[in-house]
Symmetry: C2
Subunit: 138 residues, 2 copies
Amino acid sequence: MSDLLNRLRGRGWRMTAQRRVVAEVLDGDHMHLTADEVHARAAARLPEISRATVYNTLGELVSLGEVLEVSTDRRAKRYDPNAHRPHQHLVCARCGAIRDVHPAGNPLADLPDAERFGFTISNVEVTYRGICPDCAAA
Amino acid sequence: MSDLLNRLRGRGWRMTAQRRVVAEVLDGDHMHLTADEVHARAAARLPEISRATVYNTLGELVSLGEVLEVSTDRRAKRYDPNAHRPHQHLVCARCGAIRDVHPAGNPLADLPDAERFGFTISNVEVTYRGICPDCAAA
DNA sequence: TGCCCGCCTTGGACCCGGTCCAAGGCGGGC
DNA sequence: GCCCGCCTTGGACCGGGTCCAAGGCGGGCA
C-alpha cells in the first residue's frame, strides 16, 4: 500500500477501485499526464472507468493538495504528482516536454513592494520556455 | 493616426475598417481584454464585425509582436497591448484582476545550469497570484 | 479615375477539453 | 448483513477557439 493511498484513507477518503487506480497511476513515475492520459492508463486496469470519475478524482486530489494542476499550454491541464516539493516548470516550445526545475532564490523576493499594488501574494508560478535537446538536434 | 496603426501599415498590413477598429480597441487604455471583450468593443463601432475576424486579427497582432497573449487562467486568452516593455503579471485569485508588474532581476539567472537539462531557454513567464486590495476589503 | 487580383471578411459548422446531471451502484459503519 | 449516503456512470451540454468556402473590397497599376 503506497503512502499516497494511506494518506488518502487517513483523510477519510472512501476507497473505491476507481479512486485507487487513478491514485496509483499518478503515484507511478509518470509525470505531467493529462486527464485523458490518466483515463487511458486507468482504463487499462479498470476498463469500465468513466471519464467523469477520472475528472472528479483528479479534482479531489488537487483540492487535497496531493497533486498539482499545471497549465503550461492552453490545451489540456496536466497533473503533477510532485506536490510535496516546491518547483517550477521548464517546457519545450516544440514538443511540449515538461521538466520540473528548482530555481535558486525566491521569485517573490524579486517583486518590490511598489509593484505589489496592495495585493496579498500567496503564490508564484514560473514557466521557463525553450527548446529541448532532442528537438534542437532534430 | 496612432503609432500602432503606422507601424502596421509600414509592415505592409492591408488596412481595413475591421483591422483598424481592433487595433484601436487594443491601443486604448484597456488592458488584458479577452477576445470576446475586444469583439464587443469593436462591434460597438463596427456592428457587423465578425468574431472570426477579431480572432484572425488578434492572432496577426500577436505574431507581429505588437500584442501579447496572456493565459493567466484556463478560461479565455487575454490580449496585452503592452508588448514593448518586458513585464510579468499579478493576478487576483478571487476577481481575476490583472496588473502588469516589473520584478527586479532576471528570473532566468536564477535557474542553475544543472537545472536546464540542455534546453535552450528563450523565455520566462512569471505569474504572481494573490488577493487584491478590493477583494481583501470585501 | 477605374479595373482587377488576390487578400480579407463572414457566418456557421465543427472541435476539444471540461462540466453537469439524474439514476443506479456499492463502501463501510453499525 | 443492512442500509445510508457517497460514488460512479454515460451522455448531454458548454464555452472558447478554429476552420472553411463563398463573396467583398483594398489598393497597385494603367
